[in-house]
Amino acid sequence: MEGDSEAGMLVRKIQEGTVIDHIPDWRSGLVAQVLRLSRLAKLQADVSVAILQNVASRQLVRKDMIKIDRWHVDEGEADILCLIFPSITINYIKEWKVTKYKPKVPDIIEGRIKCPEVQCISNAEREPISPEFATWKKNRILQCEYCDTLLPFDRIPDYVKS
């Protein structure tokens, strides 16, 4: 992460926050979509985000990176990101100290992703219901617990709840 000199030159080290590294090149927009980065300023005014695209990488040749200063990405969101992009590494920075997050593959993802089937009961506006998906890691798909609709991992960004 910090050892990649090109990225290091572009953005300074951070004292507190999250670094999302080894994002496939040009896919950082989807990561921003999953993390709903646009909401961060509303939640905490001093958060700043650096998005690096197509920088040199020892592992991937070219990669994207996102550095979020003064914000720790929620672990549930980190788990979803790692489902979509298995190459991603997520590092939490606390007082300059880097801790690599070990993603978990959740059996059930609740409340974070909308069902793609518009007629699913979980999309009924007035029902007090939270969408739930079971994870089929081998097939790289989610399955709605209510209507059984399948959602491939790579289509998750389109259905992240706002």
């Binding site: 009924a124 399955q143 209510y146 209507c147």
Partner: protein, 327 residues
């Protein structure tokens, strides 16, 4: 040394164990039922057919809440008659238009309300997929899915399977063609889930736009069940033992041009049945529109009215199993 039981007593013990599987259980998806449980259900339906009236009043005093958010004639009536034959009180509605739902009441609130009125079971039809699963999460009272959008209709699948079993004396070894609207038709997917418990050959006969849904294929793959897709009935008709015909679900197809393209193309009539096995049985969950010609009714192939009639004893037995009447 294990205690030895006489065969008859053992059968009774097995029956109790299996009945207790159904006791208090939701019937939300045909996926939730294994072969032994289905067979137990079917044997009890056989018993009831042999001894009509044997379950009269078995659930006396219990309350069935029939919440039909989507209009229904057949399924609503069958459940209503089944519940009444068992001695149950019946409450609810057969069409959301005549209920508080038309004023905007949610499924959640409706279920909670009837729970408060002392419902012993819910029988729910809803246009939204997964509605019965949601209802089952809201309440501890057993929920029976009477159709949720284009997803499932498990009690119809049980009836279908029972009808196949009655016609052939077995289900294993049969070649079953499922024809019509497999994408939006809920009976097809539930039937496939239930059939996956048996050693059958399944053909999905439909135009590409109405072929079986990906999650059903996914389920079959996970179970190691192979099924083939066909666009043309003629390609497979001669080898079939069962032809399960379904209606094109015009009301659920988002693009009307999709409906116009396939309308009438999959009609079953005497001409299409020209080269089939003499023992073929044609099933249909009914109601039918153009897909199954009335001229087939008088043939030995037609099994759909017997199939429809089987829905009543099957639902009686199922309700009795769920609500603890047992055997």
């Amino acid at each position: 040394m294990p205690k030895m039981y006489p065969a008859r007593l053992l059968s009774q013990l097995e029956r109790r164990t299996l009945t207790s599987y159904f006791s208090g259980k939701d019937v939300v998806s045909a996926k939730d039922f294994k072969r032994t449980q289905l067979e137990q259900l079917f044997q009890a339906v056989d018993d009831l057919e042999r001894h009509p009236g044997s379950l009269e009043g078995a659930l006396k005093g219990k309350l069935a809440a029939l919440l039909f958010f989507e209009p229904s004639t057949r399924t609503y009536s069958t459940f209503q008659i089944a519940a009444r034959n068992l001695g149950m009180k019946v409450s609810g509605f057969s069409d959301a238009g005549g209920s508080s739902v038309s004023k905007g009441e949610t499924l959640h609130d409706t279920v909670r309300m009837f729970e408060g009125y002392g419902a012993d079971c819910f029988i729910i039809r809803h246009k939204r997929m997964g509605a019965a699963r949601f209802a089952a999460k809201i309440t501890d009272v057993p929920v029976v899915n009477a159709g949720d959008g284009s997803r499932e209709h498990p009690t119809q699948a049980m009836t279908d399977l029972y009808s196949i079993r009655s016609a052939f004396g077995r289900i294993d070894g049969l070649k079953v063609g499922i024809l019509g609207d497999l994408r939006y038709g809920r009976t097809a997917s539930s039937l496939v889930y239930a059939l996956s418990n048996y050693d059958v050959e399944i053909s999905f006969i439909a135009p590409e736009a109405l072929q079986i849904r990906p999650e059903v294929e996914h389920f079959l793959n996970e179970r190691g069940v192979t099924a083939k897709k066909e666009a043309d009935l003629k390609a497979v008709a001669a080898g079939l033992d069962v032809l399960y015909v379904t209606r094109i679900q015009k009301e659920r197809i988002p693009d009307p041009t999709d409906f116009e393209r396939v309308k009438g193309k999959y009609e079953v009539n005497l001409e299409t049945l020209k080269d089939v096995k003499p023992s073929l049985k044609v099933l249909h969950p009914l109601p039918r529109v153009d897909e199954l010609a009335p001229e087939v009714d008088a043939t030995n192939y037609a099994r759909y009215f017997t199939q429809a009639a089987a829905g009543l004893p099957l639902r009686m037995v199922l309700l009795n199993f769920i609500l603890g009447g047992g055997d």
